[in-house]
Amino acid sequence: MTLYICKDAALGYEGSVAVRSLNFEVRSGDYLCIAGENGSGKSTLLKGLLQLKTPVEGSIMLGVNADEIGYLPQQTAAQKDFPASAYEVVLSGRISSRGILPFYSRKDRLTANENIERLGIKPLRNRCYRELSGGQQQRVLLARALCAAKKILLLDEPAAGLDPVITKELYRLIENINHETGVTVIMVSHDINSAVKYASHILHLKTEQLFFGTTADYLNSPFGKMFAGGESND
């Protein structure tokens, strides 16, 4: 099943185009990594995929409903000192499945607890979100995203601000989620080396689409050789 079809899409802010000529497809079960440097339009594209932005040109077609999407955003400053328990944050991932109903059901609580176990953050369940470390906060937000992700999981720089060990663990977790549950993963990352290691497809951006295809094709392409090859030397 096709989840996203981008046709000649361009996205931008207030008149200026941040990224253009986007042509790609995402199928169910894919692990797509959107790679590129800072300012290449990765996060803007992600906002487009989340329908927080409408394309300036072309079209982005969706094969999923908004309430089947899980999203791991970059943290905002306001969140870092938010008084909420980890459990409250994770449970809020179920908000979209509630519709107009006011309170969470048993099943919602169960799903929240399952995802807490899955990410190994049970000891943090009742801790205050603002007192957790960056890596722990990221796991809590990932658990929340999983609560919402029925078909697709979108991640915006999940490794931002994390140390290498925790980053590796996080990537492994995401890979497991993709393999075990068949949830489609779309990840924005500037870390091209990890991208080629875990992803099945690569979309390389630099204010326009440089490459889209499978990871194997990417590594054989001139871009792949330039970017992935060049960075692994250091």
Partner: protein
Amino acid sequence: MINTLFEMFSYTFLVRAVVVGLLVSLCAALLGVSLVLKRYSMIGDGLSHVGFGTLAIATAMNAAPLTVSIPVVILAAFLLLRISENSKIKGDAAIALISTGSLAIGVVVISLTTGMNTDVCNYMFGSILAMSKNDVTLSIILAVVVLTMFVLFYNKIFAVTFDENFAKATGVKTGVYNMLIAFLTSITIVLGMRMMGALLISSLIIFPALTSMRLCKKFKTVTVCSAIVSLICFFIGVVVSYVKATPTGASVVLVNIAAFLLFWAANTIKGRIRK
């Protein structure tokens, strides 16, 4: 002490004021948690100034103050919310423009009609005598509406407060809930404004939330705690203002400051002990 309370409540106007005040404090404290965390504290302040302007105009036109104020303030709330969401215009500057603008309009209207007198002072700093029987009825109805909405939409309000983009991306109509918060805030501010004063009403929104955030770690406990703190502070404030013959609004704010310092100190001590 008990005698003072009995004496206080033998005055009908004081009973009315306390009933309305407690209801407004409760609503303000609940909404305040979300507003403070969303960095919207100043919207509350801006709205109270708009309320001052509309109150002055309503008095000049001999219209019922609440029926004029509530729709205008709701309108202003939606406008301010729109501006804050729009990155082109800086939200804080826009709030300052609107609030000083309405303050100026209010002052001019009052001085043209009744002349600058105690009216202005009452509007700015509040008067306990302002509550009529109709106001009490209206306040009770509106407070019940605010409380019911808050309880029914509590989970949505949490989701939208914690992470609006996430909520929006996963299919929650965040615009509707932002409007709801703005709508409820406007009603609360207009209701409480004449007693607390246009310049002081926003303290009811901001203080209890900040106070309970010193100690509480969960959103639910922050919400419940700020409601309780707000009710207690208002009651103590009214009693103090009765005993010492000080203005009600200002007394309530002073008690709120004391509570804030108390919670802050308690948190510091707690932190020391843990170390």
